[in-house]
Symmetry: C2
Subunit: 727 residues, 2 copies
């Protein structure tokens, strides 16, 4: 089997489990391995084992028979129905059900993954990679569909716009969670067209800090955020996952404090007191403060040094020293961030959430705080500290003269000229351009090129090492020595895929949301921001596709009906944008060219009034947009309504058909004869006579009521009565 | 049957329909009457007709047999289940279902009412009072349960606090919608204890405009609003109505523009374009502005006159003229309000909503705007116009000298003394006291005493009129001349009840919400506000009970799971309170005694900063309170969880029991012998050999995979590999 052919087929393999045994004694390893294979087989999975790289085994897994799979699919669909994700219960005959609603690839892979990882009580094998007794199981991954991947990248890189079908395709292959990321980015990209065009015009005709641009930009951000919420629902219905986030999956790491058996339902409930969790969550406040102080101090220090060196310092080596803050930032920041991220993870673990969803949300929130500080604080410092208070603060930057002392020739070079120093009006714009162009490009490069270089370097290193080992005689046997020749190429490819990283869509989503932040918060400084982003995002979408295909293991297809906690971040940034944009416009638009550097002309009350007014105009606007968008109909909502209607109709028919039609009231009493009256009287005297029976016995049947009523009406006075006129 | 006995029994009557025929020709009237009775009988209702007051007939209605009712109950419960109000489908056997879940009185009455009024397509008789062809049907009402009413009023008037059981009782008798009003008022009453105690202490120790009181009060308002939302859910579950507001009842008056038959479901959909409605809704803006301008102008004028007369004018008749603005207000305001209300109703009709819920919400919003202006504008004018800008504005009040010109002796009496005039520091407090004590008392009196007097006066007038008519010989025959003696007392009572007004719970709710507004917006002016309210509300709760029992027809028991659009008003007032309270504290707390009347000392930026800070502190606080309250567990939520769990369990068992347990994988391959290998090879050569079958055929059964894996592990190097150490 040649290399190209090895890329064409996955040999029916559903999943590959990488089992690493390097560090344990062989007896345990073998026992665990046996347990693993037995567990897989007990849930109806067929296995094949092969040698892997670096003391690992590769266990190939596939579903033994269609019948096994059908059962699982049916079980999953019943669960969906009970949780309200599906409108109707799935038809009972499994094969028939599958024909009516064919399985798509992502669904199949998800169901098999859940079959492997779900706890035994839920019908799975309970094999959770890297957790508890399954520490040896390094990863469980599906194999890439290289033919599809090739087509995918080719198609995307040659088309300007992604169509709905392209997103459907991703959903079918990689699952809804990743499809939601691409849908979001694509939607954002499409929406960017307007601010790009408008921003370019504003840049030409209105200049920087144009109030008109500010207003339009805020409106645009609000519409985008609200429209995306609407679109999420639509996509959720389209992909049949609406309400999926309500299906809560329990965390295995959740530690309960007591377990109670519900006296009524008999359900065993694991309890961790909410008050205790709230107490633990309160640690978030000192954590956020500490993170803010640490990151803020670092950024502020570098900012101070930078201002000092570039604007005050006048000695030798200035052109080199100017990079000092960048060096400090790029060395300390990653360390600090990783320490804080680690801390955030531990704090979230400590908060001990019961479900994966709650855990992820809590973690995302903490990370967003950190990202917010590192991404936006520098610009905030420039706009709201450096410019208005620069004249007051800069003289105190003398403290940073320490950093340049070794290089300065005399003291004078380190002192601000008495009157000559003015605020650099271009600093803010330059900074915004740096963050919205340079930093985005660097980021893109890091994402695509660095992993490539890493992979290349690593494989070179491996070659070198095995050569050296071969020379020294202690050669590690290559894992492929026993491979049958016809599978060799395929196995080599699988071994490569096993070494790849696991793709996490959260990181990519974060990137987009943070990018949106620059637009909503600071684009009024430099209206071309959106132009830069639209170019960047066109590439980003393709780069992410390439990354998933080449740099990463094939991701497990999870379901989602939202971009999750990032939605809140989006709303938050939009709101904050209404504050910063108005403040920036007020602070800097006086001369229409840039900051004037004269804080004395800024009136506190006018600034506050501007911000106050802008914020409330934003609230009103957002409310209006929400109302308007909620009225929009969409294919998804129509589909949902139809499904609900059909289900309702069906249930009604099923349940009410047995209720016999209520018969009309007895048609007696058409004629009242003396005989019948006498008989009634006899009947009344025979049975026990109560006031009720006598009252209701006076008119028998509706015809008699009509007759009596007719009589009463006819007897009434003809003319309209007096009291009516008088009133 | 004596009078007391007539109050004891309702003679099994479920509903009474008052049919008025005064203004139409007799033939039509009789035809319509026949149609009415036939319609009632067609849905299984038994009828009796008697003479009513003033050219009307009273049609007594009861369900003919239990079987009829059971069918309707079952139908209603199935509908609830389909809409997600009930967790599980009701058991199919109707009598059994009723034994498991007995019918409560309000449910019974609601179902019968719907049987009468629902359109024929939904199984009802389609008789809608005062609408379309049923213009003659004046009202459909149930009879009061006087024994219960007596107990109710007695119990409430002798107990300090209402218990949950009392609310349950109301729900069982009068339905959830009214029960929600009482539950809200009771909850509000209980919550008032804290601000009453704290307010009294603040009044003693902190004085007016205390920042501490302001902060505590805002926190309290926020907690109350958020907690009520939580409680609504709890009550909804307790009363089995959670989600009931999702069941949308179509409006009969809805005018569709086109009707489409859905190609997929076959459902007939009536369409009114959303864009067109949005266009019509835009009229709300000029309407609100017009209402604001008209009401505002009236209030501002009266305010100006009042200030002028009481503080500038110094001529004769001052003590009488001071009442001039009150006279103007009390004469013009009701006229203006009723014109505007009428207009609001028409506008809402014009907006053409499809469902009752949407219609009611739209109307309530418009009315709230008007109420807001009439209730709070006077205080706003004093606090934010009169005090800060009084010195500038008051000299211009000369225009109002026209109003007193006829009474003034000379011009001087109508001119403000050049320098002597100062702002009346007590005006704001007096005004708040007026609105929170006097106006509340007046309101209570109007609600209880005026209808009583009206009723008395009307019956006196009737006596007088019939006496006069008897004298002049043209006596209208009394409706009771044909009554059988044993029913006479009962029928007299029914005739009285037919003349009573229809109770609308919205008015009472509005009153409470507006009262809450005074507390959240202005209580910092006079911290005893809550003390006044707590006394007022204790009486209000009882007065409303009496009103329902005596002044009104027995209300039709509707369901509800919320206080509806008033909830938004509550949130709005709480939010606005965070603005006004901080502004009032900043404006007036300088000397701790009252407004100092020196607007020059007010710094605009500081005021804005205070308000800005306060508002955002409020947002943060509200978010925190929401999070904290969402963690609270409650009996209702527990109940709901339990029900859901049981249903889930049941469905799973029902649906999955048929899926046979997946068998373990074939237990072959325990021993690999030469014979078996040869056989495999033969088998492989016989069937078509694909790479897949060969790949998956190497290890047969899980035991063989284990054996191969064991072998691979054992062959691997013992020591931890070099690369691990190096990395």
């Amino acid at each position: 089997m040649g290399k190209s052919q090895a890329l064409q087929t996955n040999l029916d393999v559903d999943y590959v489990i990488s089992y690493r045994f390097a560090q344990a004694d062989k007896a345990t390893t073998i026992a665990k391995f046996e347990k693993l294979i037995e567990g897989l087989s007990s849930v109806g999975l067929q296995t094949e084992v092969r040698n892997g790289e670096k003391h690992s085994l590769l266990v190939f897994v596939r579903v033994a028979s269609d019948e096994h799979l059908f059962g699982e699919v049916y079980r999953s669909r019943v669960r969906d129905w009970i949780h309200g994700v599906r409108a109707a219960a799935p038809p009972k005959e499994t094969r028939e059900a599958l024909e009516a609603e064919p399985l798509y690839e992502a669904e199949r892979l998800r169901i098999i993954y859940q079959l492997i990882t779900n706890p035994e009580s839920e019908g799975g094998a309970g094999i959770t990679p890297k957790e508890g007794e399954w520490g040896h199981v390094e990863s469980i991954f599906a194999l890439h569909d290289h033919a599809y991947n090739k087509d995918w990248i080719k198609k995307w890189s040659t088309s300007y716009v992604l169509k709905m079908e392209d997103l459907d395709d991703i959903r079918n292959r990689l699952g809804e969670k990743i499809a939601f990321y691409f849908a979001f980015t694509q939607s954002y990209f499409t929406f960017l067209v307007f601010p790009a065009v408008f921003g370019a015009s504003a840049w030409f005709f209105l200049g920087h800090f144009s109030p008109v641009y500010g207003i339009v930009s805020t409106i645009w951000c609000t519409i985008f955020t609200e429209y995306w919420k609407h679109q999420e629902i639509d996509l959720g219905v389209r992909w049949g996952v609406r309400g999926v986030s309500r299906i809560e999956t329990k965390r295995k790491d959740f530690k309960h404090e007591k377990s109670i058996t519900d006296p009524i339902t008999g359900e065993k409930v694991l309890i961790f007191p909410a008050a205790k969790r709230l107490q633990r969550q309160l640690w978030q406040i000192p954590f956020s403060l500490a993170a803010a102080v640490m990151l803020g101090a670092l950024i502020a220090t570098c900012f101070g040094i930078e201002v000092f060196i570039s604007e005050v310092y006048n000695g030798p080596l200035k052109s080199i020293l100017v990079f000092l803050p960048t060096v400090i930032l790029t060395t300390i920041m990653p360390v600090l961030t990783s320490i804080l991220t680690n801390f955030a993870t531990q704090l979230t673990d400590y908060e001990n959430y019961e479900t994966h969803g709650a855990h992820e949300t809590a973690l995302t929130q903490k990370i967003f705080v950190m990202n917010f500080i590192t991404s936006y604080l520098p610009i905030f410092l420039t706009a709201f500290i450096y410019v208005p208070f620069g004249n007051i603060i800069v003289p105190y930057l003398d403290v940073f003269s320490l950093t340049v002392k070794p290089f300065a020739d005399d003291e004078k070079q380190m002192q601000a000229p008495e009157a000559g120093w003015t605020i650099n009006p271009d600093r803010l714009r330059k900074q915004v351009i740096y963050f919205t162009v340079t930093a985005q490009l660097v980021n893109l490069g890091m994402e695509l090129i660095v992993p490539y270089l890493k992979r290349r370097g690593f494989s070179k290193y491996k070659e070198f090492r095995s050569e050296r080992a071969a020379k020294s005689g202690g050669a590690i046997p290559s894992p492929d020595i026993n491979d049958p020749p016809e599978d060799a190429a395929f196995l080599k490819r699988v071994r490569q895929e096993a070494e790849l990283d696991v793709y996490d869509v959260t990181g990519d989503l974060r990137e987009m949301v943070l990018q949106f932040g620059y637009l909503s918060l600071f684009s009024v400084v430099w209206p071309l921001t959106a132009v830069s982003f639209i170019i960047n995002d066109w590439i980003e979408l393709r780069a992410d596709a390439i990354k998933i295909c080449i740099e990463m293991q094939r991701p497990t297809p999870w379901r989602a009906d939202t971009i999750g906690p990032w939605l809140d971040s989006l709303s938050f940034l939009t709101w904050l944008g209404s504050l910063t944009t108005s403040a920036l416009v007020y602070l800097f638009s006086n001369d229409g060219l840039g900051p004037d550097g004269h804080p004395s002309s800024i009136a506190g009350w006018a600034l506050l009034l501007t911000v106050f007014f802008s914020e409330h105009a934003f609230f009103l606007l957002r409310w209006g947009i929400r109302v308007a968008i909620s009225k929009l109909d969409s294919p998804g909502l129509q589909k949902e309504r139809r499904e609900r209607y059909l289900v309702r109709k069906q249930y009604f028919e099923e349940n009410l058909s047995q209720l016999r039609k209520i018969p009309k009231m007895a048609d007696v009493g058409a004629k009242v004869t003396r005989a019948s009256l006498e008989e009634d009287a006899r009947a009344a005297s025979l049975q026990e006579s109560t006031p009720e029976t006598r009252f209701w016995g006076r008119q028998k049947g509706w015809r008699e009521t009509v007759a009596v009523g007719k009589n009463l009406i006819e007897k009434a006075e003809v003319e309209s009565p007096e009291w009516k006129k008088e009133l």
